[in-house]
Amino acid sequence: MADLTADFLGIKSPNPFWLASAPPTDKEYNVRRAFEAGWGGVVWKTLGSEGPPVVNVNGPRYGAIWGADRRLLGLNNIELITDRPLEVNLEEIARVKKDYPDRAIIVSLMVPCEEQAWKDILPRVEATGADGIELNFGCPHGMAERGMGSAVGQVPEYIQMVTEWCKKYYSKPVIVKLTPNITDIRFPARAAKAGGADAVSLINTINSIVSVDLDAMAPEPTIGDKGTHGGYCGPAVKPIALNMVAEIARCPQTHGLPISAIGGVTTWRDAAEFMTMGAGNVQVCTAAMTYGFNVVKEMISGLNQWMDDKGYDTLDDFVGKAVPNVTDWQYLNLNYVAKAKINQDDCIKCGRCFAACEDTSHQAIAMSDDRVFTVKDDECVACNLCVNVCPVEGCITMEQVPAGQIDERTGKVVSDDYANWTTHPNNPASTAAE
């Protein structure tokens, strides 16, 4: 059995699966149920300043998109931070932490961009015994209109400034949660680091309108006759989050900054992928909101199984392992040649590869009268589209053409020299190594 214990910024948890700051972590009742189900930690639903709490809409706050069989692929919300009094939340946090000392409890915070506001709240958070704080600079709707959330997260100077205040008035780890609603995620990450953040977490939700009610002529979710943009999350956002995590992990200025990855984690595999991309742990919201807290059990058993299969004893054995292999396009080896290959025994003859390649790619698949589909090696550019559209996993594979053989498409012998765009003759800026 592999050891799933996670040590993130010195905060220990029995596994790397934390619940992200969101409705699943909005109160004591939920968090106790989450811990009973096996979650390693929680980031408590974002707290605001002392005083009357925010109010949420009283109509629908979620919208969604679905795949086959109504599998939820993307969720969108217009919920604000916690709408319960600060005092109540702090009391509950203290109580739960006392009862679950082995689990991580992080308190998410969002107060106005004034030093006094942070100075007021941080000692009270410290008093709860929670393990750290997460600064919510990500919420893209509602709170941003009031100068908080992503309105702060989009200005690196503010991030640095607030992070500095937190480091000044709070003794435990400070995690800065980043918004993806920005052109280059490395800028806010660098700002967080400059401000002294112990880690970044990402992504918060992506600005979105999921659908339009064609009768009401209004975005969904519709409150009365109006709707607004909300924050998008769930399986659909994972690729975006994965790239942003990788960008921070491989940037020389932020490399080594601990990352808590968030965005579409649904099974153990998503978690493993984020962690190989440099994340020390993961946070989950939509998967729990879709299926309930028990989803963590599959995440635990799946990660365990995979680590055992691969011979990884601890998380450190694989965290960050894929980072060195993320590179820029210009460094990809242009001498690597592959061809699609269709396994005739697995082929069910749907012809989707043919339609895709014939209509939209390189006319590299032949179809016989009796529906046998074969790849024309002299046309195939190895784009992978047929692999992606084939309904049978593993039926079409990409086979490398070994060095020394002729690529039938170009008529050239495949070389095992590494050669990329920077040295390619077609590149006007080519720096050909002579």
Binding site: I348, K349, G351
Partner: protein
């Protein structure tokens, strides 16, 4: 009060009204919207889809399933009906297991095809429930066409011709249209008087006059029709039945299966329909299965299908055979009727075992006797009433690919014409294609 299973001889009311209602309910009920969404999601939208090739009417199946997926079953229905105006009935009666669903790539992949038939029913029902008829007539052409026989072939031809602007008169010897849809198809495949509803819906196109009680060979002659109309389409089905050639065939209780089924389909109250305690059906096609299963559903205690060849040679598909078996029908293979015993009415049937040598069937001499107070003959229908002068092929009216007979100006299609399987969907395809050829010859 219901008479029990065990009462010998032929009795009505073996089952209660509630049991009858349950037994004769829809074999495959209409999908709920959620079920339809789940089923539609399974379609891969194949390129040049094999299911489409396997459908005799070549419905664009991936297209209509995609329309269901995207939430507009009414346009899915239109996609279906453009190719097959009786798409509603075909969805209920087609042996999909040997047609579209057999060809589905998910049958190859998982042994579980997309349920095309039920999706087709979902779409067509949704449209017909709204009372919408999505087609309208072209400008009148001034041409007239006579259609003889208001079964699937005749109705399909009539609709297409009317749509193209011709004036159509449909003649049928019976008092109701629909052909075997109305009188032959098993009751649990076409519930709630669907056959009649579909005919009424089809006739909404306009331009079609139906004349009932008019028989070719009696009130009508081909020569007169040819003189009065610009073209004639014959779709008279197979009106006759084959003889058994076993001694005692004339005894009471021995009947043609199609006659029994027609009576069942027209009965207002199935509890009033008499059925034997021991029923034996001779034959191996769909008619045999339908007669046997429906006897069982009426409350017969023992029902046996006696077929003279092996299972593989049976006309009824494996699915139909299994359906019969699950309803409690016993299937006997390699037996042929030798004699029917009884004093006035049948009491027993004597079957002789057979073996095939070089394809020819021979009795082995060994016999077995089964109690039988009803015996149904389901050994095939034959052409009858065909006008003189039309060339035949086999025992059917000879036609070419376009449905033309040997006589100029006369087309034929459906069961009465050569080529194609004797199925509802084939009849629809042949009627439609003949109509297109008639149109081309009238306009060209």
């Amino acid at each position: 009060m219901a008479t029990s299973h065990q009462a010998s001889s032929i009795e009505a009311g073996r089952l209660s009204a509630a049991e009858i209602a349950e037994n004769f309910g829809d074999l495959h009920p209409q999908y709920e919207p959620h079920e339809a969404a789940v089923a539609a999601d399974r379609c891969y939208f194949c390129y040049d889809a094999p299911c489409m090739t396997a459908c005799p009417t070549a419905i664009d199946i991936p297209q209509f399933i995609r329309e269901i997926q995207a939430g507009h079953p009414e346009s899915a229905a239109k996609t279906i009906l453009e190719q097959n105006i009786l798409g509603g009935m075909c969805a209920r009666v087609c042996p999909t297991e040997t047609l579209c669903e057999e060809a589905c790539v998910r049958e190859a992949a998982e042994g579980k095809p997309v349920e095309i038939g039920r999706l087709q029913r979902y779409a067509t029902d949704k449209l017909m429930e709204k009372g919408v008829h999505p087609f309208s007539r072209a400008e009148p052409t001034g041409k007239t066409v006579a259609v003889v026989g208001a079964g699937p072939a005749g109705l399909s031809a009539a609709h297409r011709l009317a749509m193209l602007g011709h004036d159509v008169t449909v003649y049928d010897r019976k008092a109701k249209a629909g052909g075997l849809n109305e009188f032959g198809i098993a009751a649990y495949k076409s519930t709630n008087d669907f056959a009649a509803q579909e005919v009424a819906w089809l006739l909404q196109i306009g331009g079609i006059t139906v004349e009932y009680g008019k028989s070719l060979g009696a009130e009508l002659t081909l020569d007169a029709l040819k003189a009065d109309f610009d073209a004639v389409f014959l779709s008279i089905g197979l009106g006759g039945v084959n003889a058994l050639r076993a001694t005692g065939e004339d005894k009471g209780g021995v009947r043609d299966a199609v006659e029994f089924i027609a009576e069942l389909r027209q009965a207002d109250d199935l509890t009033s329909l008499p059925v034997g305690r021991n029923v034996v059906v001779i034959g191996g096609g769909m008619t045999a299965v339908d007669a046997a299963v429906q006897s069982k559903l009426l409350g017969a205690e023992n029902v046996t299908i006696a077929y003279r060849r092996g299972r593989d040679a049976m006309g009824a598909s494996r699915y139909e055979q299994d359906l019969a078996a699950t309803k409690g029908v016993k299937l006997m293979f390699n037996v042929q009727p030798k004699a029917i015993h009884g004093n006035g009415s049948c009491v027993e049937i004597e079957l002789e075992y057979t073996s095939a040598t070089d394809g020819t069937l021979q009795g082995t001499g060994e016999t077995v006797r089964l109690a039988a107070d009803q015996i149904y003959k389901a050994i095939g229908q034959t052409l009858q009433d065909q006008p003189d002068g039309l060339a035949l092929e086999g025992r059917k009216i000879k036609v070419d690919d376009a449905g033309r007979t040997s006589v100029a100006g006369v087309w034929a299609g459906g069961d009465c014409a050569s080529g194609g399987e004797d199925l509802t969907v084939t009849a629809v395809a042949e009627g439609r294609d003949a109509a297109m050829d008639i149109h081309a010859s009238l306009i060209g």
